[in-house]
């Protein structure tokens, strides 16, 4: 769609649409909403705003949309999830309301969720089916087998409450309005609805360390670790850190994860989700421009007026919506004077301690994991978690506290080409791709910054660790892509290389994500500026949650202006 057509696009009946004072100054009619960043949340917001009748423009710095929901080509016919490798947390309502199926999204959900092999040749397998998982645990420990269904129930019941929390806009603590009271009542009801014991349990469990929580149900270290992993995934925390129980529960909120967690692939790679979202947004009338690098957010008299591109082009808009992380948005793009010293100080202190690296491999053939035995073709479709034990995870974390990279990182690997051959279509027969999330690799190294040498060393450490459960895998590697936290920052604009835009600890949660007083998707003191990315409630992961919630608030404000 060309600009000409775009300008002739649908014109919502908004009074006072003259560009006077709307900033920009290019003379063109201002957009109703311009969205900075075409990550999955930005696209979700764009789709909803366009559906709501707002003239919406998405500006993406990279050549393709999707942000962390991306597929990259390691070689001819060898495609791999660049960062995120599963999409099972995507909100069902987003999938439904944007009709992503019609826009080409097709999901694959293997019946095995997690396969956690140990070097000793044993393995913990978590299936979609709870009973089956419990049976599988029985040969290790009857306690663990008995404990699993109860633990799964606990995760699901608290997950339901957190989903309710996640779908609601955090109340306004300063000047509560009737709507906030209703939200409070609704949550209160949900809270009480849990029943006295469950609600007490929530208060007890949320601040807990995941190591303590799993220890209440399971006795085997390997089982504890396989489950506890999601409590620390993408976080600068170890299993003994307070608040990691909440991270696991958030990960299971609003999806079918339960105690095992979700394992759902987008056919063609996570980029396919971005493509579907972009298609849905365009179909609703939104325009998307790639290669458009926003360098500043313009404002006047306490109101955001538009954005400036690297090219110098100014674009005026009534609503400026940032899908970028809140620190980059507020510190790098907004004029410090407009932001004010206190909010500036607070924004500068938003914690973004990235500790995650990504290693993507092209493999000559399927690696052999002795622990998987005969059933490999099936078991290896799940998330392959290499986390030998709780203390092993904690030790891996320890290194990162002092700016060191774990000698034996904790890994979550997937071989998506097993469930989705499309990824390797057009490559040599037998080829597979492996996508590996590696923790802990801190953004801030004690010894200088990340470079080719340290990146290689990290890649080697990952292969070494994989060799422990998949002997000979090193020999099979034909392609290797190592993305350090610094790469995540440079290539994807993630401050500190943090995949969740801001650490999801208890100190950056709900009412104070990213900042207390600015958790309602609006930036206090700067009308017309909104946050719609993972740095906003309910936080990171491929959920579309922040984008969907933010769109609801932006449309509400637009309606008020009418």
């Amino acid at each position: 769609m060309t600009d000409g057509e775009m300008l002739g696009g649908p014109e919502p009946a908004l009074p006072g649409r003259s560009t006077a004072g709307a900033g920009g100054g290019t003379g063109t009619r201002p957009w109703d909403a311009v969205i900075i960043g075409g990550g999955h949340n930005g696209l979700v917001t764009a789709a909803y705003l366009a559906k709501g009748g707002l003239r919406t423009l998405v500006l993406e710095r990279r050549e393709r949309v999707g942000g962390a929901a991306d597929t990259s080509e390691l070689g001819p016919g060898i495609r791999v999830p660049t960062l995120a490798h599963t999409v099972g947390r995507l909100r069902p309502s987003v999938h439904r309301e944007l009709d992503l199926k019609a826009h080409g999204l097709s999901l694959v959900a293997p019946d095995v969720r997690v396969f956690a092999p140990s070097p000793d040749g044993s393995a913990v397998t978590l299936w979609a089916d709870v009973e089956r998982t419990a049976d599988g645990l029985r040969h290790r420990s009857s306690i663990d087998a008995e404990g699993y269904p109860g633990f799964d129930r606990l995760v699901r019941s608290i997950g339901r409450f957190l989903d309710e929390l996640g779908r609601s806009t955090p109340p306004d603590v300063r000047s509560p309005r009737i709507g906030d009271a209703l939200t409070g009542l609704k949550l209160g009801r949900t809270f009480r609805g849990l029943g006295r014991d469950d609600s007490r349990t929530i208060l007890r469990v949320l601040p807990m360390a995941i190591a303590d929580l799993v220890a209440e149900a399971f006795e085997t270290d390997a089982v504890r670790a396989a489950i506890a992993w999601r409590g620390v995934r993408f976080g600068s925390v170890g299993p003994w850190s307070a608040g990691t129980a909440a991270m696991l529960l958030m990960d299971s909120a609003g999806n079918d994860g339960g105690a095992a967690g979700e394992t759902v692939y987008a056919r063609g790679g996570p980029g396919a989700l971005a493509t579907a979202l972009a298609s849905a947004a365009r179909a609703a009338g939104a325009e998307i421009r790639t290669g458009a690098d926003v360098t500043a957010i313009t404002s006047r008299d306490g109101r955001a007026t538009g954005v400036v591109l690297g090219s110098g082009e100014e674009i005026a808009a009534r609503a400026v919506v940032s899908g970028l992380d809140p620190k980059r948005t507020l510190v790098d793009l907004v004029d410090p004077v407009a932001l004010g010293p206190q909010l500036g100080w607070r924004a500068g202190n938003i914690r973004t301690p990235g500790v995650v690296a990504k290693v993507n491999l092209g493999l000559r053939k399927l690696p052999i994991l002795p622990a998987a035995g005969e059933d490999a073709l099936r078991l290896l479709r799940g998330r392959i978690v290499v986390a030998p034990g709780i203390d092993a995870m904690e030790r891996a974390f320890d290194a990162s506290k002092y700016g060191g990279v774990s000698e034996t990182p904790i890994l979550e690997a997937t071989i998506p080409s097993l469930a989705d051959p499309l990824l390797v279509e057009g490559s040599k027969a037998g080829t597979h791709v492996m996508s590996v999330i590696a923790q802990y690799a801190p953004y801030a190294l004690r010894e200088g910054a990340w470079d080719a040498r340290s990146a290689d060393a990290l890649g080697d450490a990952v292969i070494r660790t994989l060799e422990g459960v998949a002997p000979g895998i090193g020999e099979l590697v034909t392609h290797r892509q190592v993305l350090t936290p610094l790469d995540l920052e440079r290539d994807f604009g993630l401050t500190g290389g943090h995949p969740f835009h801001a650490e999801s600890g208890l100190d950056q949660f709900y009412l104070w994500r990213p900042l207390l007083g600015h958790a309602r998707y609006r930036v206090g003191g700067l009308d017309g500026l909104y946050l719609c990315g993972s740095g906003a409630h309910p936080g990171g992961g491929v959920t579309g949650g922040p984008g969907q919630n933010a769109a609801r608030e932006i449309l509400a404000d637009a309606k008020k202006r009418r």
Binding site: V173, R174, L203, R204, M208, A242, R351, D391, F509
Partner: protein
């Protein structure tokens, strides 16, 4: 024929004694039963070596509630708190700002109660930190003002359908809304952040951050980088806003001085106190506590039984098995203790000399903090996480004889060293604490000697208290000095058991009044006071006599 009381209190620690005083004050016939020959539980003074008297366990007083001091008129009963002036953080050669030669002679950071002097001292290290210190200090005082009321409310049960107990929360919310946005945000950070992350927002000087963060981890099985450790930073400022009393001080005659003062106040109000009277059982009939039986079988009946000992002692050791609802018992067994600290008490021939600031002087009169850097603090925790005592521990040193010479013979000194980390549960490969006691003591002496090389030559006697010793002597489970970890999930309405934070227990007429309850440990006395007032309220005596 068993004797009868209105109230019998298990344990003569400071909280038990405070409860006794308040109950007696309201006219209840009250008896306190203490297992040991000395009063005070963990707040005792004992002559460990001839002529040398020590605050064997708890050694400073920071938070003793002013209302308790006032209402029980403790000064009249001999309470005399000597202020500790400042905190001295010595460094080693190579630490601290480098000179022109690029080397450092080893510096120190010395903060005193004189604000101006502290600012000048900080400026030596960092202009930024000197400025930030003002901003930070003001914010923390504001926070302390806001938090203070929380220390004296009875936590509601958020799951209950009775809204009344929630009312105090309403007033809290209102005063929260009165705070500025930044103050609100900082409050939230205090409740959720790690001490290290929190301080990073203001300061860059490593020894400053390390020394400040130390107060966040005392008595916990957490590191300065563990989320949830920021909150205790406030405690340093609580004292300040109480006006009359300094943030930190030591009682004349050691912490036993506090216990004796409270004991004398309780006796004066008519309470009876029996020493060497260990309780063997809490007597329960028809789900109601009717008294206690001493270890020797003697039975003592009472209308109400208050336990100031921890939940494991109270519910698991002292109750007939099967008297508890299984769910409640599960929660009690879940409650985490995980003692993490030890104590090394030394009798000295003379004062140690710190290479950063040699010789005697004012800097030795306050707290001496072995906390050169955040990373060393955290590494000490890393050892503990895997069941080893810290090879290079954090140590908080006090030399009481400099402010209270009577604690040792003329010219001699006593030195109290609070040490972290010393995890109660050791890695099996290390054996038991009985096998590790002296090696641990040596490690502490070696650690201090890094900063005061002549220490070894001054030591006359050494007494090492491991978490196991603390448990054996004081009865504190796993040697946790707070009667249970002060971790987020064990605070406020979840302390000690979710739904049972109101000092009552599922056994009617059995109450808790120790540090196991809200607002937790430390020589604060709030627990004992609020518990007693709740008991009185339940008996319709709340208004009988004006308190507070």
């Amino acid at each position: 024929m068993a004797q009868r009381y209105d109230a019998v209190i298990i344990g003569g620690g400071h909280n038990g004694l405070i409860s006794a005083a308040y109950l007696a004050r309201a006219g209840m016939k009250t008896l306190v039963l203490e297992r040991r020959h000395v009063l005070g539980g963990a707040a005792v003074t004992e002559e460990l070596f001839p002529g040398f008297r020590f605050s064997v366990f708890s050694y400073v007083v920071s938070l003793l509630r002013p209302e308790v001091i006032r209402e029980l008129d403790l000064p009249a009963h001999g309470l005399d708190i000597l202020p500790l002036d400042g905190t001295f953080t010595p460094l080693r050669k190579g630490d601290g700002p480098k000179g022109a030669d690029g080397k450092s002679s080893g510096d120190y950071l010395w903060r005193v109660n004189d604000h101006g002097r502290t600012i000048r001292e900080l400026r030596r290290w960092s202009k930024n930190d000197a400025e930030a210190y003002e901003d930070y200090g003001q914010l923390m005082v504001d926070m302390a003002r806001f938090i203070k009321p929380i220390l004296s409310i009875v936590p509601p049960d958020p799951a209950s359908n009775d809204p009344r107990p929630l009312l105090p929360l309403g007033s809290l919310l209102r005063s929260f809304q009165k705070l500025s946005e930044r103050q609100q945000a900082v409050f939230v950070q205090l409740m959720t952040m790690s001490a290290s992350d929190f301080l990073d927002q203001w300061f860059e000087t490593d020894p400053l951050k390390a020394t400040m963060s130390a107060s966040g981890i005392i008595g916990t099985y957490q590191g300065v980088k563990s989320p949830g450790t920021a909150y205790v930073l406030l405690h340093h400022y609580m004292g300040e806003i109480d006006g009359a009393f300094r943030a930190w001080g030591i009682p004349k005659g050691g912490t036993g001085g506090i216990s004796n003062a409270i004991g004398s106040a309780a006796r004066g109000l008519g309470a009876e106190i029996r020493l060497e009277a260990p309780v063997g059982r809490i007597l329960v009939r028809d789900g109601r506590a009717i008294g206690v039986a001493l270890a020797d079988g003697e039975e003592i009946l009472a209308d109400v039984v208050l336990s100031s000992v921890d939940t494991r002692r109270t519910f698991i050791d002292l109750l007939e098995p099967g008297s508890l609802d299984p769910d409640f018992e599960t929660e009690v067994k879940r409650f985490k203790f995980r003692g993490s600290s030890g104590k090394v008490n030394m009798a000295l021939d003379g004062l140690p000399s710190f290479s950063a600031l040699p010789g005697p002087g004012e800097h030795l009169r306050g707290a001496i903090s072995i906390s050169p850097s955040i990373d060393e603090m955290e590494q000490a925790y890393d050892d503990a996480k895997y069941g080893r005592w810290s090879r290079k521990p954090y140590i908080d040193i006090i030399i009481p004889t400099l402010v209270d010479p009577g604690m040792a013979p003329p010219g001699k000194h006593v030195m109290s060293c609070f040490v972290q980390y010393a995890p109660y549960h050791l890695d099996p490969s290390l054996g038991t604490w009985d096998d590790n006691r002296e090696a641990f003591g040596d490690a502490v002496v070696d650690r201090i000697s890094e900063f005061a090389p002549d220490l070894k030559s001054k030591i006359l006697h050494r007494n090492v208290q491991t978490p196991l010793d603390i448990e054996r002597t004081t009865g504190l489970s796993e040697g946790n000095i707070f009667q249970g970890e002060l971790s987020l999930e064990q605070l406020f309405f979840s302390r000690p058991v979710p739904g049972w934070a109101r000092f009552r227990t599922p056994i009617r007429d059995l109450w808790l009044c120790g540090s196991a309850t809200h607002p937790g440990g430390g020589i604060m006395g709030a627990n004992g006071r609020i518990a007693a007032l709740e008991v009185l309220r339940s008996r319709g005596r709340g208004r009988g006599r004006r308190v507070a």
